[in-house]
Amino acid sequence: MIEALALPFMRRALEAGLLVGAVASYLGVFVVQRGLGFFGDGLAHAAFGGVALGILLGAEPLWVAIPFTLAAALMIVWVRDRTALKYDTAIGVSFAVSMALGIIFLSLRQEYSRDALTYLFGSILAVTPADLWITRALAAASLCMLPLWGRWAYATVDPELARADRLPTRRDDYILAAAIAITVVIAVKVVGMVLVAAFLVIPPAAARLLTRRFATMTLLSVVIGAISVLAGLILSYQCDLPSGPTIILVQAAFFAAGVTFRR
């Protein structure tokens, strides 16, 4: 593995994987505690629609997928906010519409696209220098949002008390959704659309089982998310397995440990 790190693409894979794994596990604690596990899946499908549009336009898919998915995420929060519909219904609609658009976009492009498959199943080893910069920007933005943790956590445990205390819970919901959307698109490149929701759900769920405090859950989730990427990449290199699914299986091992040693 050490000699593999001499290869630039492996170094990029490791850095991008660690950063996106840590950010997704951090945001994931709110996803899990707010019961929004389906949100990650919904946004992954929106990302597919965005990638397909990028391919059709001949643009870099990530640049199109980010605004496309961001729009879907904000739309989901808006529908929940302004109508009587719940999150899962709004996500269900966005999910189907994005997928339908994605399939139509791909059908409009006559030739076969290898890019589409890369995004479907992910390819951490295809992380470009530009992807890495986007991932670094995401990690930096997440660090800037750390002071919002206390507000987001308070609004998660009791949104009404948070509103009674004049916290801007509505604005915070949009900020959180936007952060999750961008994370999902970047993680799609690494693990693929099919598996991306695991990044937001499995490390926080494992952490939840092992602790009784939300602060500890948050720390533990980030640690599990980062270690899973590291161990998963090493394993996939050693055993010649696809990287994304190997990472997910390492996360699942932490989850199994959480179920066994739950507090």
Partner: protein
């Protein structure tokens, strides 16, 4: 003469196109204990939320110490929601929930000072011994005390309680009234409590607001809770508890 702490004038509240409250007017004097009584769907919780600035009025005015609900400092109001609203899956210790009272944030870690302050509030609510227990594993009564401690910890001028007696046994209920009244005396706080317990209201409240989407009556319990008004609101006159009726609990 004591000043009016809360003044409600011709208030109407509409939610989702339906009128939930209309023609509500009353004045609450400082340091009074008001019981809000009415059948299910009478708009009791909505009224409490309007006082907290959580829902807007479509007509009329509400002032709290002369200020609109949305503009009062959040720390003035100690809100005790229904305990069933708590997300019991959230990994929280009882003392962390209390600490959200003064800080309006979930605590990353509790410093010595914040911990001592929260423990003091828990002691007032008779719940110091459960400070480090997971909130999700507390009984309804224990959780009620934790929410009371949370409200006390910010030393509010107004305490607003949404059915705090729900799920409590007789001893627990008497204890809860005692805790609230002790705080009220010490801080001269104004208390508004939604309750289904007419007897409790007769004994503990200085005023009763009888509500059924509109204001049926407001005033001292013995004046408002009469056969005619109860029949009008509930369709029956209720039942009496001769052993407790007429005695003022202290």
């Amino acid at each position: 003469m004591t000043a009016n702490a809360i003044s409600v004038r011709d208030v109407e509240v509409r939610l989702g196109g339906a009128t939930v409250l209309s023609d509500i007017s009353f004045d609450i004097r400082e340091s009074s204990f008001v019981a809000i009584i009415g059948p299910n769907g009478a708009g009791k919780s909505t009224l409490l939320k309007a006082l907290l600035g959580l829902v807007d009025t479509s007509r009329g005015t509400i002032t709290i110490d002369g200020i609109a609900p949305r503009d009062i400092p959040a720390a003035w109001a100690g809100y005790v929601p229904q305990v069933k609203a708590l997300d019991r899956d959230f990994p929280a210790l009882a003392i962390e929930l209390v600490a959200t009272g003064p800080h309006a944030r979930w605590p990353w870690r509790l410093g010595a000072e914040a911990r001592a302050h929260a423990l003091e509030a828990l002691e007032l609510a008779g719940a110091k011994h459960i400070a480090d227990r997971p909130a999700g594993r507390l009984s309804g009564g224990e959780l009620q005390r934790v929410y009371l401690a949370r409200a006390f910890s910010r030393e509010p001028k107004f305490i607003l309680l949404d059915e705090p007696a729900a799920g409590l046994d007789v001893a627990g209920e008497a204890d809860m009234y005692h805790i609230i009244e002790s705080y009220q005396r010490k801080h001269r706080a104004t208390v508004m409590m939604i309750t289904h317990d007419w007897d409790g209201a007769r004994i503990h409240a200085s005023d009763v607001l009888l509500l059924n989407r509109t204001n049926i009556g407001f005033g001292p319990p013995d004046t408002v809770l009469n056969d005619q008004t109860l029949l009008q609101v509930f369709g029956h006159k209720g039942h009496t508890h001769p052993k407790t009726e007429g005695t003022r609990h202290d």
